[in-house]
């Protein structure tokens, strides 16, 4: 049984004084346990909407989401969400932001500290727990967001363009860390990106989406063997990387 199933999912947003806007139209997808799925596609093709519905932040117009075969009816601690922007509460420190998620999961304060320290160390932010978000760089803020999602020990991680607002260098560093992290943990991951490079490096399968209405255009398997993290820059020289990057690039070009 797939870990996560998206069944004939349609989402329409009401538009004032006009016909409704179809953000997703009959989306079907099965994700296996431990699989890393990347979503790419022009902006407005419904990537964020799809992730938000899976998280339970939004309700589908029709269709359903199944986790372990059971329908999803709302948010849950089995899913950890990483937001693209404004993902941290600015009045809480990094540690308090993580504590927020732990408290929401019902973990008592005296047992939060250990987990907080551990996940901060996992994302390379040991000793930064007392910083407020504005005292951290954009890349560090996203790491806190990832640490917070990790803290609740979800079965599925949902990341919506987590590195989208970062500069190229920071972005590449975080991509490599993400690769190492996910290969060590083996979690099921759904990852939205607008970078073909990022998708090919990280994913087992890349889902190409097309806009108006948002649909799955193609699902491209990436057969670069794992662990890829140890390859470093050489990853981008493998024939599979070059070929898949080329293929995806052309497909996206056709869409815009």
């Amino acid at each position: 049984m797939p870990k996560l199933s998206v069944r004939n999912l349609t989402k329409r947003f009401p538009v004032s004084g006009g016909p409704s806007m179809t953000a997703l139209d009959g989306v079907d997808l099965d994700v296996e346990e431990g699989e890393f799925i990347a979503f790419v596609g022009p902006s407005g093709c419904g990537k964020t909407t799809l992730l938000r519905i899976i998280q339970g932040l939004e309700t589908a117009t029709s269709g359903e989401i199944l986790i372990d075969g059971k329908p999803v009816t709302g948010p849950g601690h089995d899913r950890g969400f990483v937001f693209q922007q404004y993902g941290l509460l600015p009045w809480l420190t990094a540690a308090q932001n993580i504590g927020f998620a732990l408290e929401a999961k019902g973990i008592p304060p005296n047992r939060q500290g250990e987990t907080t320290e551990r996940v901060l160390a996992t994302v390379g932010l040991k000793g930064f727990g007392d910083r407020f978000p504005h005292q951290l760089s954009g890349g560090m803020q996203q790491r806190v967001g990832i640490a917070r999602a990790l803290a609740i020990e979800p079965e599925i991680m949902l990341l919506d363009e987590p590195f989208g607002a970062l500069d190229a260098l920071t972005r590449e560093i975080l991509q490599n860390e993400m690769l190492g992290l996910t290969e060590r943990m083996g979690k099921t991951i759904l990852f939205v990106t607008h970078s073909v490079d990022e998708a090919v490096c990280l994913a087992d399968r890349v889902v190409v989406m097309s806009p108006r209405p948002g649909r799955i255009r193609e699902i491209v398997p990436i057969d670069i063997p794992r662990p890829r993290a140890s390859l470093g820059e050489a990853l981008r020289d493998t024939p599979e990387y070059v070929a898949k990057r080329h293929q995806l690039w052309n497909q996206l070009m056709d869409l815009v």
């Binding site: 969400f81 009045w91 809480l92 927020f100 408290e103």
Partner: protein
């Protein structure tokens, strides 16, 4: 001179001490300018009013002497204590009521729809008009004064709290939702911190209105406190003494505003760069 100091500050990469001294000197000069103007103003007042009727116009030197007298005999102290205990209690009650009602209106559409017209109408109307009627119900004592202060102070707190609560960024509410925070957590850790600056500016407005209410109440209900001193000494044509409590009210209003600002800064620490 000025230019060379600037040039050296720019040329040295670690020139912060010099760079910092410039705005400091600027600030000192501005303070001096303000103080000088004050002294000049008092001098002109003193001079111009010297030959005026002492029953009607007081000069600064007389006011200083009168203030000193009222300080020594304790009159000013007891009047201030009387006024302030009433004011502080009224202000605190108004703040609590205002924040609670504001939160309720901001988070519950039904409550908002029901209360909104009354809140807006009462905020806009001259509440002084209600005081005589109010006195029929609550008398002229302590209760009357507290009620009047609350009435004047509560509406800006409500209105600003509602604005803050309703403005909460959807992104932050999504965080609460995604991680399944309880309603209480969302109130305490998302909505309240977000609304805080709005509430604080409501409190500052409430402070000003509350002080006015306090003085008006002391004029119109049982005559007492600082407002009472003003009325009594004016009626006795002891104009210089009437100025002393005015001075105290002015100082207190400013001190309290600074206090509210400090409290706001303490809670808004996360915003400081």
């Amino acid at each position: 001179m000025q230019r060379s100091a600037q040039a050296s500050a720019v040329s040295k990469s670690a020139g912060e001490p010099e760079a910092a001294s410039d705005p400091n000197r600027q600030r000192r000069r501005e303070r001096l300018l303000q103080f000088g103007t004050l002294v000049l103003l008092l001098a002109v007042w003193e001079f111009a009013a010297r030959d005026a009727n002492k029953l009607l116009v007081a000069v600064p030197s007389d006011i200083a002497v009168a203030t000193w007298e009222l300080l020594l005999n304790g009159e000013l102290f007891w009047a201030t204590l009387d006024s302030m205990s009433t004011f502080v209690l009224g202000f605190i009650i108004a703040s609590v009521i205002g924040i609670v009602i504001g939160f309720a209106m901001g988070t519950n559409r039904t409550v908002e729809v029901i209360l909104d017209p009354y809140i807006n109408a009462l905020y806009a109307m001259p509440l002084v008009a209600l005081i005589p009627i109010l006195m029929l119900w609550v008398g002229i004592g302590f209760l009357a004064k507290i009620t009047i202060i609350i009435l004047f102070a509560v509406f800006p707190v409500i209105i600003n709290t509602v604005t803050g609560v309703k403005n909460v960024d959807r992104h932050y509410l999504d965080i609460g939702k995604a991680f399944m925070a309880s309603r209480f957590m969302v109130y305490r850790q998302i909505i309240a911190p977000y609304a805080l600056p709005y509430v604080a500016s409501g409190l500052r407005i409430a402070l000003g209105r509350g002080i006015i209410a306090m003085i008006v109440a002391e004029f119109l209900t049982s005559i007492s406190g600082l407002g009472g001193l003003i009325i009594n000494y004016t009626n006795a044509f002891e104009t210089a003494k009437a100025f002393a409590p005015v001075l105290v009210v002015a100082l207190l209003a400013n001190a309290l505003t600074v206090l509210v600002q400090k409290v706001e800064e303490r809670f808004g620490r996360w915003r400081r760069r």
